[in-house]
């Protein structure tokens, strides 16, 4: 696991209590957003389950025994969703996709990579893509990848081929 650069707020106990002052709260949520994205990027985590989130060190600092309560986590996730960095998986909003790159960003990164490496007009499997070393999209969740590729499809730059056995994409 990559080294996480914890911000100073992570050791600041009130960081784990949602602040009543709206302005302070905004600062707090901004800090939370970048912390969650940093954490997910370093750990290649693409899905957060609100019910289990307190098991993850990001929302639970054992050293100072502070936990962000579930309503706080939900608030952070909704903030992330507002900037296109998260999306609920279901209506109950218990499981969330986390996009440390927004889908648009990811889509253009993948397309640029495909162009640069001569993958246009060929079919790549999802497995191939996620196992490409040292790319923004290496090790990414296949569901997130699919969402990003769907974005490309909308722009007419790719065609997603979904089958029960194997998923692939053709770049244009």
């Amino acid at each position: 696991m990559a080294e996480i650069n914890w911000p100073w707020q992570y050791n600041f106990p009130p960081f784990f209590t949602i602040q009543p002052n709206k302005e302070t709260q905004k600062l707090q949520l901004d800090a939370w957003k970048s912390l969650v994205l940093d954490y997910c990027r370093s750990t290649k985590q693409c899905v957060i389950d609100v019910r289990e989130a307190n098991n993850s060190p990001v929302f639970h600092n054992a050293a100072i025994s502070r936990k962000l309560p579930p309503e706080g986590i939900l608030l952070v996730l909704e903030e992330l969703a507002a900037s296109g960095n998260a999306e609920p998986l279901d209506k109950t909003k218990t499981r969330w996709f986390i996009f440390w790159r927004t889908l648009q960003e990811l889509a253009s990164i993948i397309h640029t990579w495909a162009k640069d490496n001569g993958f246009t007009n060929t079919v790549c499997t999802f497995y191939e893509l996620t196992n490409t070393p040292d790319q923004e999209f290496s090790g990414i969740d296949e569901d997130v990848l699919q969402k990003a590729l769907k974005e490309l499809e909308k722009q007419g730059k790719a065609e997603v081929i979904l089958s029960p056995e194997i998923n692939g994409v053709k770049f244009f």
Binding site: P7, P13, F16, E23, T24, Q28, S65
Partner: protein
């Protein structure tokens, strides 16, 4: 009868003694007074004219005396001024570089009622002593604005100093900024309105507030207590115990600090605890130590 006479003598003795004393201290005035006393008995045009003449003479004498005094005083001032000027320009470099020297010089100027900062005009401007503080003031504003989002506009003098030293570069003469310099420069910012205030919080510690508005008495008292206890957090019961306040007063003061964005509340301990980022070590050193190392 005898007693009466005795009284008379002692009274007139006393009077004479008084006149003598008066004469010793103010020869001219008392001589005139004495003459007046005697002459009051006389009447007539001649006497009045004589009196008038004497008065005129007296007046002329006073004005010459006064002129002399003024002349002497201005001469002395001139000497003093040139000396001070000479001293200041001779030690200009020293004043700029050495914080201890600067402090002493400031104190000296203050005791004789000269403010080298306030006088941008005149010979002080040649020295550029004011400029040193103007420069510092601007840098203080910069640091305050840059850290505003973290500490709600309240910064300890120590943090301010560390950040300033970092911002001013590594050369030795940049590093020599004392806390007195900072207080001096920060206080100059008062002319910009109540946006910048230096708040003493006891034990020789200060905080600089850089948001419009003023800290209430309560908030200042809580800050002072925080600095006394050491640390970045305080609870309601701590305030009640230490300042002997009513619970409601403590609650209100702390809630106000949260409302003003100065404090953050933590509800995950036994009782709500109020934290000040401006005193929290990791926040204070954030961006200072990492880049410094």
């Amino acid at each position: 009868m005898l007693l009466y006479l005795h009284n008379c003598i002692s009274l007139s003795d006393f009077f004479l003694y008084g006149m003598f004393k008066l004469y010793c201290c103010y020869p001219l005035q008392s001589a005139l007074l004495f003459q007046n006393l005697i002459m009051r008995r006389k009447a007539g045009v001649g006497a009045i004219q004589k009196q008038k003449l004497q008065q005129e003479k007296y007046q002329a004498k006073t004005s010459t005396l006064q002129e002399n005094q003024i002349e002497q005083l201005s001469k002395q001032l001139e000497v003093f001024r040139t000396n001070l000027e000479e001293f200041a320009s001779k030690h200009k470099a020293e004043i700029k570089k050495n914080s201890e020297f600067r402090k002493q010089f400031q104190a000296m100027c203050a005791s004789i009622g000269v403010d080298p900062l306030a006088s941008k005009k005149g010979f002080w401007s040649v020295l550029g002593i004011g400029d040193f503080y103007y420069e510092l003031s601007v840098q203080i504003i910069e640091v305050c604005l840059a850290t505003n989002h973290k500490n709600g506009g309240l910064i300890s003098l120590d943090e301010l100093r560390n950040r300033l030293i970092k911002a001013r570069g590594q050369s030795k003469h940049h590093q020599e900024i004392s806390k007195d310099d900072l207080i001096c420069a920060a206080q100059k910012l008062k002319v910009l309105g109540n946006g910048f205030t230096v708040i003493p919080i006891g034990r020789g510690d200060y905080m600089v507030q850089s948001v419009p508005g003023e800290l209430s008495m309560e908030q200042t008292a809580v800050l002072t207590l925080l600095s006394k206890l050491g640390g970045a957090s305080i609870s309601e019961s701590q305030v009640v115990d230490n300042l002997k306040w009513e619970k409601a007063r403590a609650t209100k003061a702390l809630k106000n600090m949260v409302q003003d964005g100065l404090a953050w509340v933590d509800t995950q301990s036994d009782e709500p605890t109020y934290w000040l980022p401006s005193l929290f070590f990791e926040c204070v050193s954030d961006g200072v130590s990492s880049a410094g190392s």
